[in-house]
Amino acid sequence: MKPRNLAILLSAGIALAAAGCGSGTGSTPDAKSSQGSAAPAAAAPVTITVGCKPPKNNPKEVAQWDADVAAFQKLHPNITVEGKDAFPCIVPETFQAKLAGGEMEDLFYVYYTDVQKIIGAGQAADITPYLDSVPAVKTIRPDVMTVFKSGEKVYGLPRVNYSTGLVYNRKLFTQAGLDPEAPPKTWAEVQAAAKKIAALGPGYVGYGEYSAGNTGGWHFTSSLFGRGGDVVTPDGKKAAFNSPEGKAVLENLKTMRWTDNSMGTKQLLRWEDLMRMMGSGKLGMMIGAPNVVQEVNNTFKGKFEDYGVAGLPEATKSLSGGDGYMFNPKASPEKIKAGLQWLEYRFLTPGQGQFNYERAKADGLPVGLPDIDLFGNTEPGKKILDLRKQFATIPVEHFQTYIDANSTVEFKLEPPKAQEIYAVLDTAMSAVLTRQDANIDQLLSDAQKKVDNILAKSS
């Protein structure tokens, strides 16, 4: 081919590709919404895209998802469910881009941490008018539903809900001469246990804590809630963590880090760092929920039987965590109704979908983790507990103290402007863990001023 022809072909190709991208991006949302709004309300065909389908490298869970989709579509012949697999299910870097480009799923997956931010930005649809079509919603714990509420309006539904506890390595407890059946119930006991574990030798860390990438602020909040403190005042206008409880959180860490030397030398840890350390069998304890054990087992080569979860020491309140689904703000009413039915089928019905423990056991998947508490002490909640016990494949007794402790613990939600506040609190956490002469009063006072400023701007 002559160079001139090649150049023309190349230019034309690029122009066509660019035009293709442009038109696709621009037209998709309109096309979708017009399709939805043009369709009759009753049994007209409707297709919903759903995020967080299990990833392809997990074929058993993919097969379960596909089976559920097939069964659901048989029950609702007018609805087509298109799952979109991704791992991890949400990536902050692509969330806004997907929304801007019209590529966001009709039902998109969210962590609790992001829910209020998304509602505040108007990036999720109000589903309140359609909730009557989903009876299961009435049985969800009211405190859990609060996560997805702003005023009286509801913007999503939970999939997984848990409260924070103390994850510990039972094997290390035994090695250090501690009783794995009696995990620490107070922070003094945590300190003592951490010292013994760290004394096992170089590389052993008694207690691990985050202090970078906003995770430090997140865990500060968790500890603070456990001690009865609060991050912001009830009206949400002022910082409230510069308190005896806030000081106690940092004092405790300072003692373990510098006096007991039980927190290891490497700090500025983030989420995956503690998971890796827990999986490697060198970390004794960390704040976390049962999903940590799942993650350590699935991704970081840990074994279920080596870990246990206890209640958060001394806690009467606990930061709740979890995830769920929200709806694309451009989704039509038909899509929202269909999406709610799918959520009910897959995630909110005992013995079905994610609660089909019999199938999970038959497929060789772990059953027994107390990682989903959506219904509390209601009928569906009790039924799910019974089924989980009946088909358990992991030692459920390793998590009993967590379950017992949580029966009396009040769930607390994350503060407003959570990520901004966590970024500020990261500074205090990293100071205490990296600087022996850190002045806790000063750190809390500085952080208070910064958070007051953030809250003043947002109100």
Partner: protein, 305 residues
């Protein structure tokens, strides 16, 4: 009259224009491709970013124009001053370390008589590693416990350092990573410049009794002055955008000691969901970088690079 006749001779008939266009069709074709790529992947995002910095948007409804509010928000952020200070200090340190080291490495490589190709490959090797891999490699090197650097210090009976975990060493630790990652490119460019220096100049200097350092001072540096200046400006523009090192190694900590403008921009856009704030920071950084880019363009134009 002369001017008139020149103008007259430049006047083209439609047929002549057509012939001229046809003759240059290949060039226009290639130019068109490049223009489309630049327009979509460079200029459009830049314009969009400029607009975003004056808007409040949720990417769902129409954006709201809010004047300078985003600039006010980011400048009042407690991390704003540390971010700019750290960026400036990082750039300064990266110039001292990262500018001198590749030049010295190039001179040494140029002077070598044996294993030149092998060593050139070794020096360039870090550039071939994906940046994330190189950064994570250093995360292990910097581990205060079993990390490589503290093990080496221990071998020579020196106390270990906290590296990334200390406010006094965290930023310089990031500079070391950055220097190591970019050493190869700088060295190769300097080496090419060194090899273009006529050998007679060195021979003459040697005949005049100049030693290695005098040869470098009186021959090498004057002969490579231009490329040194250009590299200096390019390095300033590149290092001021430092992001991956603080993102992967420190998360901006400890105590904001490594938070940079680009990292803060990321925090605003992706952690806080405030693209306007991120855009405002980006625009500020862009203006600063444009000054250096303008100097670079001036230098390259004046010297016909």
């Amino acid at each position: 009259m002369t001017t008139m006749s020149v103008r007259g001779s430049r006047r083209r008939t439609p047929g002549a224009v057509r012939r001229r266009v046809r003759r240059n069709l290949t060039a226009y074709g290639f130019l068109c491709g490049a223009l489309i790529c630049f327009a979509f992947f460079s200029w459009y995002p830049m314009v969009r970013e400029f607009l975003l910095s004056f808007q409040k948007t949720n990417f769902v409804g129409p954006p709201e124009w809010i004047g300078l509010d985003n600039f006010r928000t980011v400048t009042e952020d407690s991390a704003f001053i540390p971010a700019w200070t750290n960026t400036a200090v990082f750039t300064g340190l990266a110039l001292i370390v990262g500018y001198a080291v590749p030049f010295v490495a190039a001179i040494v490589l140029n002077e070598l008589r044996h294993a030149k190709a092998y060593l050139r490959f070794v020096v360039y090797l870090p550039v071939m590693l994906p940046p994330a891999v190189a950064v994570l490699l250093f995360k292990w090197f910097y581990d205060p416990g079993p990390g490589l650097f503290n093990q080496i210090l221990d071998l020579v009976h020196l106390p270990g350092l906290s590296w990334l975990d200390s406010t006094s060493t965290a930023l310089i630790s990031l500079v070391l990573v950055s220097t190591w990652m970019n050493l190869g490119t700088g060295t190769l460019i300097y080496l090419a410049a060194l090899q273009s220096i006529p050998g007679e100049l060195y021979e003459a200097a040697e005949l005049d009794g100049a030693g290695l350092f005098r040869r470098v001072w009186h021959v090498t540096i004057p002969q490579t002055k231009l490329i040194l200046l250009v590299m200096l400006l390019l390095q300033i523009v590149a290092t001021m955008q430092v992001f991956i090192e603080p993102y992967l190694l420190t998360g901006g900590g400890p105590e904001n000691a490594t938070v940079t403008v680009a990292y803060l921009m990321y925090q605003y856009a992706f952690s806080f969901g405030n693209f306007g704030g991120g855009g405002a920071l980006g625009l500020m950084l862009m203006i600063v970088l444009m000054v250096f880019s303008a100097v670079y363009l001036r230098v390259s134009r004046d010297n016909q690079i």
